[in-house]
Every structure is written in structure tokens, then in C-alpha cells.
């Protein structure tokens, strides 16, 4: 009798474990769908290749970053708050990633090529992290790149200011996956840990 009871209890536990696992898997998201912390682009947007002058001294070609995650930001050096804040956060992301940062490229494209020379960009990027890359392009080369990402840029004249003008611009950080497609955008203010977590998740899946 006891033996029979023992067998029934064991069978019951096996059935319970199996049913519970099946139910949980069935009601959760599809296993291949990433649960991202930024604004996921569905479907991921293919980005046409582009080549820009870089603070690294070599030409930067987007297609050569395949296999890495690219965190791309558009801004300008005279930006008083949003850009330096974003770069401070990206620095924290980079440090948070540790060794995984070897598989990440952080790049900054200036939307103020008139004032932001490559020399000035080099010093600006070095203030945040030696691995960050500043990119420069003539306006006619820059505009199609802005259009690909939907980056809005608007020059606002300040005739009474020493700056002469300021630039309103999209402040999101764009994440390009190792396959070269735009996978998500991080709104300004996204915690650096969220960005780092998403980078780790994408690298683990690639």
C-alpha cells in the first residue's frame, strides 16, 4: 500500500512539473522575440552603408562594423546639456559592459559640421572615452544619413548670443545590431543600465 502510494506521488510530481513547464512556455513570449528596453523597430530597418571622416584617423565605414553593436548618436559640440549628458551615460554604458565593450562601437555624428572640425571632435570625444569615435561629413553627405534614421535637425539663430546659433536635434541613441540593421532607439533619459542590458542581450543572440 505504501509502495503504491509512493509510486502515485512520484508520478504526480512528474506530471505537475511537466504541465507547469508547458503552461509557462506556452503563455510567455515566443522564445526568439527579444524583450528590449528601448523602442524596438519592427521590422529592423536596413541601413544603407555610409563612409565618413573619423577622429580615429581612418575612414569610418558602417559596413565594417558588422559583427559589432553600434551605438550611434547625432549631436553637436556646442550643445549645452543634452549631448554631454548623453555621452556621460554612454561612457557609463561602455564601462558597465566590461569586456563585452570590445564588441561595441560608440560613434557620434556631428550635425554642426560648420563649427565642429575633426580636430575639435577628437578632443571632445577623448574627454569621454578614448574608444569613442567622432564622425564628420559635409552637409550634402550628412543629410541622407539623417534621413535614414529620421533624425530631425533645426538651426535656431541667436543673434544676441556669442554662439550665434543653436541646433535643435533628435536626442535618441540608435542601436544598430551586428547584422547592420537598426534594431532600436533609446529615448533621451533612458537609464544606462537598460542600454547596457540590451547590448548584452543582442550580443548574446548574435
Amino acid at each position: 500500500m505504501r509502495r503504491q502510494l509512493f509510486v502515485w506521488v512520484v508520478l504526480l510530481l512528474i506530471v505537475v512539473a511537466g504541465c507547469t513547464q508547458t503552461a509557462v512556455q506556452g503563455s510567455s513570449q515566443a522564445p526568439d522575440k527579444l524583450r528590449l528596453r528601448g523602442a524596438a523597430v519592427e521590422p529592423p530597418r536596413p541601413i544603407h552603408d555610409f563612409s565618413l571622416s573619423a577622429t580615429s584617423g581612418e575612414e569610418f565605414r558602417l559596413s565594417e562594423q558588422r559583427g559589432k553593436v553600434v551605438l550611434l548618436y547625432f549631436g553637436y559640440m556646442s550643445c549645452p546639456d543634452v549631448c554631454p549628458t548623453t555621452f556621460a551615460e554612454l561612457t557609463r554604458v561602455y564601462r558597465e559592459l566590461g569586456e563585452a565593450a570590445d564588441q561595441v562601437t560608440v560613434a557620434f555624428i556631428t550635425v554642426d559640421p560648420e563649427r565642429d572640425s575633426l580636430d575639435r571632435l577628437t578632443r571632445y570625444m577623448a574627454a569621454f572615452h578614448e574608444d569613442f569615435i567622432g564622425l564628420w561629413a559635409e552637409p550634402q553627405t550628412l543629410q541622407p544619413i539623417l534621413d535614414q534614421f529620421g533624425v530631425q535637425v533645426r538651426k535656431v539663430d541667436l543673434p544676441d548670443s556669442a554662439l550665434k546659433y543653436t541646433i535643435e536635434h533628435t536626442a535618441s541613441v540608435f542601436l544598430i545590431a551586428p547584422d547592420g540593421k537598426l534594431l532600436e532607439q533609446f529615448l533621451y533619459g533612458t537609464p544606462y543600465k537598460d542600454i547596457a542590458e540590451d547590448v548584452r542581450l543582442i550580443l548574446s543572440r548574435s
Partner: protein, 122 residues
């Protein structure tokens, strides 16, 4: 003996089914608490805005709770900007908001050309 066997087996099946249903119900309830807030930008929205019309696709303020997911589906043939999010033609953007905050920015869909996404505590 045979009767006991079938009774036992039947009992196991019933308990298993109850557990499966229970897990499904609980996880479904958890999902329902975190809502999905969906906005669809219909085809032709860009053309209407160019003509000076107000297609009334989204409010000037989008109110969400922490844990809510904002899904913006762009069925138009042109891209649109909502706050700092750009959604290409035919794309869908999905953002789960995990922290309290206010996201303010330009909007190509709203007649005021600006929209705020306000995320409050759940």
C-alpha cells in the same frame, strides 16, 4: 486493484489540468495589468497634414503607467516623428516604459506639432 489504478490516474490528470489552467490564468492576469497602448497612423495621414487638415490620430498628451507598452504602427507611406521616435513607413515601434518620466518632442502627426508622453507610477 484495477479500480484503484484508474482512480489514481484520473486524479493525477485532473490535478495536472487544474495546475495548467491556473498557471495560464495567473500569467495572463499579470500581462493584462501591464497594458499595451496602441496608436495606428493610417495611410494618407501625411497627405492630410500637408493639406492643413487634422487627422486626429493621437492626443497631444499620451498618458501611460510604468510597465505599459506603447506600440505605434505606421501604415502611412511616409515616416513620422512622435516625440523623439521616428517610425518609418510600414514600421511599428514598440517601447515598454519602465520608469516615471515625461518625454516631450516634435510630432509630425499632431496639429500642434508637439506631443508629450507622460509616464506615471503604476
Amino acid at each position: 486493484m484495477k479500480r484503484n489504478f484508474w482512480l489514481g490516474l484520473g486524479g493525477i490528470v485532473v490535478i495536472g489540468l487544474i495546475l495548467v489552467i491556473g498557471v495560464i490564468v495567473v500569467t495572463s492576469l499579470n500581462k493584462a495589468e501591464a497594458r499595451e497602448h496602441r496608436i495606428v497612423i493610417p495611410e494618407g495621414t501625411g497627405a492630410l497634414i500637408k493639406e492643413g487638415k487634422n487627422p486626429q490620430v493621437i492626443p497631444s498628451e499620451i498618458h501611460l503607467k510604468v510597465g505599459d507598452t506603447l506600440v505605434i504602427e505606421n501604415r502611412d507611406i511616409v515616416g513620422h516623428e512622435i516625440s523623439d521616435l521616428w517610425i518609418g513607413a510600414g514600421e511599428t515601434l514598440r517601447q515598454e516604459f519602465r520608469t516615471v518620466g515625461v518625454y516631450k518632442g516634435a510630432c509630425t502627426v499632431h496639429p500642434n506639432a508637439e506631443v508629450q508622453i507622460i509616464v506615471d507610477e503604476s
